[in-house]
Amino acid sequence: MTNGLLELFTIFVLSGFVGFEVISKVPSILHTPLMSGSNAIHGVILVGSMVVLGSAHTGPEEALGFIAVVLATLNVVGGFVVTDRMLNMFKPRQSAPASSGPAEPEVAEKPPADGGAA
């Protein structure tokens, strides 16, 4: 075992703990966006794909590297766009319908609708 490997392994283990810790308090309402968001994050394989294509020497390597970059780009852009679309719907609303009570729902809900369109 080389020092380089040990260093990577250290990063691996610590990242694993961090990954567990940071999401341990996620409410179930956000599970889908979280899954989608972390899906986009593993798109970081694009960096690896670029390096592989960038150091390709033979035709087959170039072809494989090309495929890898296309797939990884799909992962990155698709992941972030989908997540953003989902989260866009969780925009905080200016009014507080819960506290203003059921008496005047029409009035309470107009402003956010306009805000959403803007």
């Binding site: 490997l5 990577l8 990063i11 990242s15 961090v18 990954g19 940071v22 999401i23 409410p27 179930s28 309402i29 956000l30 599970h31 889908t32 979280l34 899954m35 989608s36 968001g37 972390s38 899906n39 986009a40 994050i41 593993h42 798109g43 394989i45 690896g48 794909s49 390096v51 592989v52 294509l53 960038g54 150091s55 390709a56 390597e61 170039e62 494989l64 590297g65 090309f66 890898a68 970059v69 296309v70 797939l71 990884a72 780009t73 799909l74 992962n75 990155v76 852009v77 698709g78 972030f80 766009v81 989908v82 953003d84 679309r85 989260l87 866009n88 719907m89 969780f90 819960a98 729902p105």
Partner: protein
């Protein structure tokens, strides 16, 4: 500072962005900022990779990226919110595929005679996990898109055949470690693709969301393995973060469904059901079908109405109509809220996303644990396109496949109204006794249609 140091520092900043992004995603208020932070970190990581000293083929890289963007952005923008789960599956699959291809290419490019055994092991691991994730996600996509049956697919000696394929893959791995043969690596790739397919085949449609979360975690691990191969810190951090958080998320989801992960993966949930369902059969029992007018009047003169949405609401695109009904009722002074089962829809949180799309305020959505204590005092539980998540057999029928799954206690409301297209059982494929309850009224038809009729009826009442 040398150029390499600056590049590495940028990767570190990107990695911190990923961590803070996951943290941000834990709160509805900061989630969007979290996602943008992750995107920013990703942009930095990609941008700085272009500055890597030995990076050739920049033209090819750019072309490949443009191709990816040209396909990915429209696909992600145009997909309907109801089809989101299969889209996540697809984007996850391509990530796993990329990781597998990166590992293969690196192996081909290296002088295999000089490569240390642990390096080969990293490659083999990346190829195996990445390819399983790719093929599994592809099949999950096909299932969710309903291009094939959503029921578990079983065949004779399934466990034995799966075990044989697994053992064969293991044998090939050992052979690769000994011989460093490229040809064998391709064989492993093929076997891993088969493994991904046979791993997903016996998993029923209702469990596919948990499966996608698991495959998401797999892809993370495959990316981390590629990171080991390429000696890339940012790949190891990014991949491992997703691998670890994905595992935890998968566990949270199985808990929400009241089942253990091995049970979901290996029990072929749903295949048993056809057997038990046949003996009981819905045949003899009768249901009470109502008219929108009757139900509209019932709703209009209630004090408390709980809307229980399910996937049927999503399919019918009825979230806006549901909000209209809630608004009409609230205008009459009726107390209305939505009771959201954690796995309503096809993914945990799916229903929240759909209702948020219809501008339903966050405050009106109650999660199961907050909603259930209020069910006994509700005049009407309006079940819109949900079935399994309100099935009392989860509570009182130990033999039932969904026994133990927490449910919304719709049966405790004074009246229950089901909006359903037909008497067909839900995604889990089991009969629901609640449909035959004397307190239950059925409104057959398209959910959106029926809801609009209900709004009209409420306004007239």
């Amino acid at each position: 500072m040398s150029r390499g140091t600056v590049i590495d520092l940028c990767y570190l900043v990107a990695a911190i962005g990923f961590i803070l992004a996951l943290k941000g995603l834990s709160s509805p208020k900061r989630a969007r900022a979290g996602n943008l932070l992750a995107a920013g970190g990703m942009a930095l990581a990609i941008g700085v990779t272009f500055a890597e000293p030995d990076l050739g083929h920049i033209d090819l890289i750019l072309i490949a990226m443009v191709v990816g963007i040209a396909i990915g952005v429209p696909a992600a923008r145009l997909v309907k919110m109801t089809a989101m789960p299969q889209m996540v599956a697809a984007f996850n699959g391509v990530g796993g595929g990329a990781a597998a291809v990166v590992s293969i290419t690196e192996f081909i490019g290296a002088d295999t005679k000089l490569v240390a055994t642990y390096k080969v092991l990293e490659v083999v691991f990346g190829v195996l996990v990445g390819a399983v994730s790719f093929a599994g996600s592809a099949l999950a996509f096909v299932k969710l898109q309903e291009l094939m049956t959503t029921r578990p697919v079983t065949y004779p000696a399934q466990q034995l055949i799966n075990a044989m394929v697994g053992l064969a893959a293991l044998g090939i791995i050992v052979a690769i470690l000994v011989t460093s043969s490229t040809a064998l690596l391709w064989v492993l790739l093929a076997l891993a693709l088969v493994l991904g397919v046979i791993f997903v085949l016996p998993i029923g449609g209702a469990d596919v969301p948990v499966l996608i979360s698991l495959l998401n975690s797999f892809t993370g691990i495959a990316v981390a393995a590629s990171g080991f191969t390429l000696n890339s810190n940012v790949l190891v951090v990014g991949g491992t973060l997703v691998g670890a958080s994905g595992m935890l998320l998968t566990r949270m989801m199985s808990v929400a469904m009241g089942r253990s992960l091995p049970n979901i993966l290996f029990s072929a949930f749903g295949s048993v059901i056809t057997a038990t369902g046949a003996t009981e059969g819905p045949g003899g029992r009768s249901v009470r079908a109502g008219t929108p007018e009757d139900v509209g009047t019932l709703l209009a003169y209630s004090r408390k109405v709980v809307i229980v949405p399910g996937y049927g609401l999503a399919v019918a695109q009825a979230q806006h109509a549901a909000k209209e009904l809630a608004d009409a009722l609230r205008a009459r002074g009726v107390d209305v809220f939505y009771a959201i089962h954690p796995v309503a829809g096809r993914m945990p949180g799916h229903m929240n996303v759909l209702l948020a799309e219809a501008n339903v305020p966050y405050e009106e959505l109650k999660e199961m644990d907050d909603a259930n204590p209020e069910m006994a005092t509700a005049d009407v539980a309006l079940v819109v396109g949900a079935n399994d998540t309100v099935n009392p057999s989860a509570r009182n029928m130990p033999g039932s496949p969904i026994y133990g799954m927490p449910i919304i206690d719709a049966d405790q409301a004074h009246n229950i109204v089901f909006l359903k297209r037909s008497m067909r059982p839900g995604f889990a494929g089991i009969d629901n006794d609640l449909l035959y309850d004397p307190k239950t009224t059925m409104l057959f038809g398209d959910a959106k249609d029926t809801l609009q009729k209900l709004v009209a009826a409420v306004n007239k009442a």
